[in-house]
Amino acid sequence: MSSISSTLSRRPGIRLGLLLAAPLTWLVLVYVVALAALLVTAFWTIDSFTNELERTFTLDNVREITSEALYRTVTLRTLGVALLVTLIDCAIALPVGFYMAKVASRRSRHLLVIAFLMPLWASYLVKALAWRSLLSNGGLLDWAGGLVGLGTPGFGVTAIVLTQAYIWLPYVILPVYAAYERVPDSLLDAAGDLGARPARTFRTVVLPLVVPGLVAGSIFSFSLTMGDYITVNIVGGANQMLGNLVYINSGSNLPLAAAIALIPIAVIMIYLALVRRTGALENL
């Protein structure tokens, strides 16, 4: 062992190679190849009779998704829902994370973290179904909302937004909480000391420092919402999102499905590129 160690210690390149070999092989062989193959498929077509792939280059699918109104509508709807979900979750995570990290006692902090972690283990499907039940005519929301003069929004885009915001909330709260934790208390003291009132301190000192955590959380809420079609089926009423379009085409027309998938891929890539500089990618 020692002689291997001695040799290796002289060869950082080999050390790095040994560390990277397995994970990189995995990621490249499994993921990059699969993704690349899918992207290539977007430029193929399918024999409508035998349903066999025809491996000849065509822009038909891409043309179709860029020209047909359907894809524009659904893309905008999906983007809108994903953004709304992300906004709602961030808006909730900001005060809650702050309370957990900076106001609650050390003891209750632990309990709160546990409380926000536990719902992650309740099946996503079960939660979506519970929301279906909540939102339905005469459901809990209708019943409770009736008391304050509000009904249920029923099944539809609003329901999708609410349900998704609910399901992904813990994924946003946890990184935001962690980001608050990393803000030293002395910075808050310093701001107050220099005359900033709490609201001001929050806006000018705390908020900029939790942005990476917020962005990390938003990657979860945004991309998980972008790709979901099951929640949409359960509470979305008659609506569909990009995930549904990819899904229904994935069986009968993989090239078209792949072409549609280009949309969320592009959106996410742009999003990642935009947030890269915030350092959020290290906070997932």
């Binding site: 066999e52 005469g138 459901g139 009423g237 009968s252 027309n253 993989l254």
Partner: protein, 366 residues
């Protein structure tokens, strides 16, 4: 044409030794081995009897099934009519020699040699259960009691947001059935055989309907619940759903409207790539066994495939589901796969195929 990519040139002539395993792709509730409910098991006996170990996978939509079947990992596929012809066209399905299946004999004649299980007089599978896509309505909210599909088309705006429809491209055929009766000048002969103009008319009708649709459904718990809660008051259904609904929560009625209806008759098919054809044949025979067939179709909620099966079914089951009622069956346009060659025999036009329908369906939903 069973030649593209197909490995078997013809049906098996005789059976050999069972291979010891068989993998089956089916709708939920078709291959129950007691794991969902210990009472519900028609697999264990088969395994013991034949020595064929069963592995099964369930699918949610015909499209999903098609994709899975392509992998060639399944010996047997339970396919609805919107899938069968695609399987056959893609060379995924093997021709089935019904002579090797003793239970085939007792199966209702009106299910045999139909367009969704037989091509060029070659059988590609064994008919399983069947049923109709009925019109269901809440008797309190929908008055007077409808007798026509008009309730979900022209009259749908009366119940805006409370109309439901089956969530699949094949639902376009329901619109075609309606148009066949109400717009004869479109010349629709077979709801699964639509040229571009006819499809466009159906799409328009469905787009209009879309504005009143509260939600589309594809699993029955969902539609059961939404009728019970009142989220939905009218729409397509299956008999089994109507039976499940608690009348105290929602008084519903399910009818076969005057225009007739679409329906399904699923087919047990054998993969052209099957490595266990003998076990596959054994399964096809087993599932057509009257007792087993009764058990399976009753569990899923559809009519069994033979009169003999009705002897094993519970009291009233065959009546409720109109099993063997040929007149009733005649009103049903069983699911079929739209393909370019018009199924109604027209040769002057090219018909729209399932892919076109899939696109149209996405567009309808918007």
């Amino acid at each position: 044409g069973g030649d593209s990519g197909s490995e078997s040139t013809g049906a098996a002539e005789k059976l050999g030794e069972n291979e010891g395993e068989v993998s089956i792709l089916a709708w939920p509730g078709y291959v129950e081995d007691g794991s969902t409910d210990p009472e519900v098991d028609w697999v264990s006996g088969f395994e013991k009897e034949t020595g064929c170990q069963v592995t099964s996978k369930v699918y949610g939509t015909s499209d999903e099934a098609f994709n899975l079947a392509k992998s060639g990992e399944y010996d047997v596929v339970a396919a609805s009519g919107d899938l069968t012809l695609r399987m056959i066209a893609a060379g995924q399905a093997a021709e089935v020699n019904t002579d090797l299946i003793p239970n085939y004999e007792g199966i209702y004649d009106f299910l045999k040699d139909r367009e969704w299980n037989t091509v060029d007089e070659k059988n590609y599978g064994i008919p399983h259960g069947y049923g109709a896509n009925l019109l269901m309505y809440n008797t309190k909210d929908v008055t007077p009691a409808p007798t026509s599909w008009k309730a979900v088309f022209e009259d749908a705006p009366k119940h805006k947001g409370q109309v439901t429809a089956y969530d699949s491209p094949i639902y376009i055929a329901d619109a075609a059935v309606y148009l066949m009766a109400h717009q004869p000048d479109l010349g629709i002969e077979n709801p699964y055989s639509l040229d571009e103009k006819q499809l466009a008319a159906a799409v328009d009708l469905l787009k209009a309907q879309r504005t009143s649709v509260g939600e589309y459904w594809s699993d029955y718990t969902k539609t059961q619940a939404s009728f019970e809660t009142g989220d939905t008051v009218v729409g397509t259904t299956w008999q089994v759903i109507a039976n499940l609904i608690d009348p105290k929560k929602a008084p519903v009625e399910a009818i076969l409207p005057s225009e007739g209806a679409t329906g399904w008759n699923d087919t047990w098919m054998i993969s052209s790539k099957s490595k266990s054809p003998n076990c596959a044949y054994a399964w096809l025979n087993h599932i057509s066994d009257p007792e087993v067939n009764a058990q399976a179709t009753e569990y899923f909620g559809e009519a069994p495939n033979s009169d003999k099966a009705c002897e094993f079914a519970s009291e009233g089951h065959c009546e409720t589901f109109h099993a063997g009622d040929e007149e009733y069956a005649k009103k049903i346009w069983f699911w079929n796969t739209p393909i370019n060659d018009c199924l109604d025999g027209r040769t002057d036009v090219e018909c729209t195929d399932y892919q076109d329908w899939t696109k149209a369906w996405a567009e309808i939903k918007g």
